[in-house]
């Protein structure tokens, strides 16, 4: 899979836990197609990192000593628009992952993943998007569900899911893998990955639209 013709992916890690920093560095070391180009231990350092030249992948831990990783994700989204952002998490619990995606993350990395798995996930993210867990798929579906009694307070849905994206998400909630989904939907695995990437984007865009809508509602805009 690593293509030596291309320049290696430049990866940065924002993480306060030294142990994970070490295992992360160890996971990247043998991979020829990626290089750990930067490390930050807290939000302040991360901001300084973001002032520098853009990198390809940024892995962010949420619980930083001087603030939330969500802010780092948001800042990175603005500073490095082309950078793929991953949130590193122990449990991939819905609350943190959804908040990260809404802030602009395109996937997540389980901290207990094996070294090979870590490298694979970084590649997958760069190639398209991380896998979505059934629960997070379910959460996204709920987020995009058309409001049934059409309450006035509901924000306008700028990017409703396409029927195919919806179908893919439904299958994810039932536990099917991307390969199985590709088979069931009679498409290629790549197409499924495309659906997933778009879903990530729509979630981010929608959350921004919601934020603007909320701000209008509260007279901030």
């Amino acid at each position: 899979m690593p293509d030596s013709a291309l320049p290696p992916l430049k990866v940065a890690l924002v993480e306060d836990d030294i142990a994970f920093q070490n295992s992360f560095a160890a996971a990247l070391a043998p991979a020829r197609d990626m290089v750990l180009a930067g490390t930050a231990h807290n939000v302040a350092q991360a901001r300084r990192l973001l002032d520098g030249p853009a990198l390809d992948v940024l892995v962010v831990d949420l619980g930083l000593p001087d603030g939330s990783g969500i802010d780092v994700i948001r800042a990175a989204r603005a500073a490095w628009p082309a950078c793929g952002i991953m949130v590193s998490t122990t449990f991939a619990d819905e609350k943190h992952v959804i908040a990260s995606i809404e802030a602009g993350a395109a996937g997540y990395l389980l901290k207990d993943s094996s070294a090979e798995k870590i490298a694979d996930e970084i590649r997958a993210l760069h190639a398209g998007g991380s896998p979505i867990s059934p629960r997070i798929a379910r959460q996204i579906l709920l987020r995009f569900r058309p409001p049934e009694p059409a309450p006035e307070a509901a924000p306008p849905l700028a990017n409703p899911l396409s029927p195919r994206e919806h179908e893919a998400l439904e299958l994810i909630t039932k536990g099917f893998s991307y390969d199985e989904i590709a088979e069931l939907m009679l498409v290629s695995r790549n197409t499924v990955m495309t659906f997933v990437r778009r879903i990530y984007q729509k979630l981010e865009v929608t959350s921004k639209a919601e934020a603007i809508f909320e701000a209008r509602n509260h007279g901030l805009l």
């Binding site: 449990f91 629960r135 909630t173 039932k174 536990g175």
Partner: protein, 644 residues
């Protein structure tokens, strides 16, 4: 409060007094004032009609000069008549008019007061120009006369006026001084007198009656408030009583006897009603007074009832009646005034005072009626009665405003108590919710503790034992720790709601277990079919499902030596069947089940209302978890409590 109200009252009283003085001063009559007359008295029988023409010089008898007003004292006992006719008396008044001071053109004759229990006729220069067309007794004599003189082309001012009054012998005849003048000179005086003597009582008693009808309608709906009924009765009786101040100038539709009955008797009824009304104001019910008043009223009403022979004419015995009622009224109202003052009822004092005033003025009216005082004065009782009307109005108004403000106060109190009640409810609701929250928290804690104990805790303890005995390599330890982390992830997953979605739960399990399966090289075939929502599948239950299936997977990985695991779901007879099929070597279910943790799985399944089954052959093993679609799951506590 008292002084400011008293000041207001004095202010109004002063204004009224000023207005009355102004009216009096502005309506003094002018013109020819006839204050002396020649009088000729003839005894007669019955009421012969007056002749059309008469020559006063031919009348039999001797004339004598009198000053007007002329009002002979009545005899108490009428004299006996001849031939069944009522003995009457004809009194002639003759006025010689001064040719040097003739009546003006378009002249009126104004008679402020006249009295006769009989007929009244006026001649000008010997020709009849006016005669009464009325009942004999009740002939409207409280109305002043306003007689236009003949106004023809040939008319000359009259030289002589002659008045013929035929009345019951010994009773009733009287004449005030006369005025002769044009409209401008006399009309103000006439209209003012007519208004105050007849029309004012008429208007006020009619208005009073109208409010009485209203009060009566109120009483019909609120029978317990007898004050309204008494008020209504008072208005009716007052209306009857005041009739004789303005009625009778034309013939009445009823006989004199009946008219007398229902205008004289009301005096007694009024005293009774006012007393009953006052009793309700001062709440001092002296039975004897009420009974005496009611008795007297009843006796008078019966003995004067004109329906039977042998009863008395109310008109004739009215002086007796009036005197009786004056005495009783004085006593009663005096007592009522006292009692009202003691009870602190200002209304009672006001009404009792008005009533006392009416009695006193009634005494004056008796004197006026009996020609003991100047007959040109006004009957005054009716003004006290009008004052009484106002007093009644004020009392009812007070009741009304009091009731309204009571309703307002009641509303305020009601709103307040409602708000208090609401706050109470809110508080108890909050308390309940707090308790509920605590309970939920407690259960959640119980559940997690149980889970830590069964899962993570025991895994760590056994790992510790193994490590302590040095019988494990690093890979083994890593394996155990991975298992612990998986346990922890499932615990965390179980904290998020799955909202009745079993497949979501299975998907979650797959997501967590997939890395381990991949590591073991066992292929996973995901062959789930849609299942109906399980309404009972909450967080507590979903953890049980996760643990049951996790253990099934672990068993396959550890023991089966399988190359493939198939996960299936199907629905049969209201039961969802979750299957974990492996292609491993199989085992003897009966012999091996307890050791392989089936007992634990079975207990968990039972706790959520389901059960587990194992089928094993040499070609593989099928583990089945059967879950009811309908929530026949046992209670939460049991689900929590029975796991060791």
């Amino acid at each position: 409060m008292g002084s400011s109200r008293a000041r207001t009252f004095l202010l109004y009283a002063g204004a009224v007094l000023l207005a009355l003085i102004a009216i009096y001063a502005g309506t003094r009559p002018a013109g020819i004032h006839l204050t002396r007359a020649a009088v000729l008295v003839q005894d007669s029988q019955g009421y012969a009609a007056p002749p059309r023409q008469i020559d006063s010089r031919r009348l039999a008898g001797s004339w004598r000069e009198v000053a007007l007003p002329h009002a002979p004292r009545p005899n108490v006992v009428p004299g006996a008549g001849d031939a069944g006719l009522l003995p009457t008396r004809t009194t002639w008044y003759r006025f010689a008019l001064d040719p040097a001071d003739p009546a003006p053109p378009h002249a009126y004759l104004y008679v402020p007061r006249w009295k006769t229990d009989g007929t009244f006729a006026i001649y000008a220069d010997g020709r009849l120009i006016y005669q009464s067309h009325a009942n004999l007794q009740w002939n409207g004599s409280n109305r002043p006369l306003w007689i236009p003189l003949e106004d023809a082309a040939e008319t000359r001012p009259p030289r002589e006026l002659l008045i013929r009054i035929r009345h019951v012998r010994g009773m009733g005849g009287a004449l005030s001084s006369l005025w002769l003048g044009d409209y401008r000179q006399l009309a103000p005086a006439y209209y003012a007198r007519a208004f105050f003597q007849a029309e004012l009582p008429y208007i006020s008693s009619a208005m009073f009656l109208a409010t009485g009808i209203f009060a009566f309608l109120v009483w019909l709906r609120r029978r317990r408030e007898t004050l309204y009924l008494l008020f209504a009765a008072m208005t009716a009786v007052t209306f009857l009583r005041l009739m004789h101040t303005y009625m009778g100038l034309d013939r009445l539709p009823v006989s004199d006897a009946w008219f007398g009955w229902f205008t004289v008797n009301p005096v007694a009824w009024m005293v009774l009603i006012i007393h009953l009304f006052l009793v309700r104001l001062h709440h001092h019910d002296r039975r004897a007074v009420t009974v005496a008043l009611a008795g007297v009223s009843l006796v008078f009403a019966i003995v004067t009832l004109p329906m039977f022979a042998g009863t008395f004419d109310a008109t004739v015995i009215s002086p007796l009646m009036y005197v009786t009622m004056a005495v009783m009224g004085l006593v009663t109202f005096g007592l009522d005034l006292q009692w009202s003052r003691k009870a602190g009822s200002g209304e009672g004092v006001m009404l009792a005072a008005c009533s006392l005033l009416a009695v006193v003025l009634g005494g004056y009216d008796i004197l006026l009626q009996s020609n003991f005082v100047n007959i040109e004065g006004l009957f005054l009782t009716m003004y006290a009665q009008i004052a009484m009307i106002v007093a009644f109005w004020l009392i009812m108004l007070g009741r009304y405003t009091q009731a309204v403000s009571q309703v307002e106060q009641a509303n305020v109190v009601l709103a307040r108590s409602l708000a208090a009640r609401e706050a109470e409810l809110n508080a108890s609701h909050q308390k309940l919710r707090a308790i509920e929250r605590r309970e939920v928290l407690f259960e959640e804690r119980q559940r997690l503790m149980q889970d830590m104990h069964d899962g993570l805790g025991s895994s760590l303890v056994s790992a510790l034992r193994v490590v302590e005995h040095g019988r494990i390599d690093e890979a083994g330890i890593a394996q155990i720790l991975k298992g612990c982390i998986d346990d922890l992830k499932l615990t965390i997953d179980s904290m998020e709601p799955v909202e009745t979605d079993l497949l979501l739960l299975l998907g979650t399990l797959r997501f967590r277990l997939e890395p381990r399966l991949e590591a073991t090289g066992i292929a996973l075939r995901w062959e789930v079919r849609d299942v109906p929502p399980l309404a009972w599948l909450d967080q507590r239950h979903s953890l049980h499902v996760l643990r049951i299936l996790q253990e099934a997977f672990t068993n396959v990985i550890k023991h089966a030596g399988a190359t493939e695991i198939r996960v299936t779901t199907e629905v049969q007879d209201g039961v969802v069947r979750v299957g974990i099929h492996d292609d491993g070597r199989g085992f003897d279910v009966a012999a091996a089940a307890p050791g392989r943790g089936l007992g634990n799985q079975a207990r968990r399944a039972e706790a959520i209302g389901g059960r587990v089954a194992l089928e094993s052959t040499s070609r593989g093993t099928a583990f089945l978890l059967l879950l009811p679609i309908q929530g026949t799951a046992p209670s939460r506590r049991r689900a929590l409590g029975e796991i060791p």
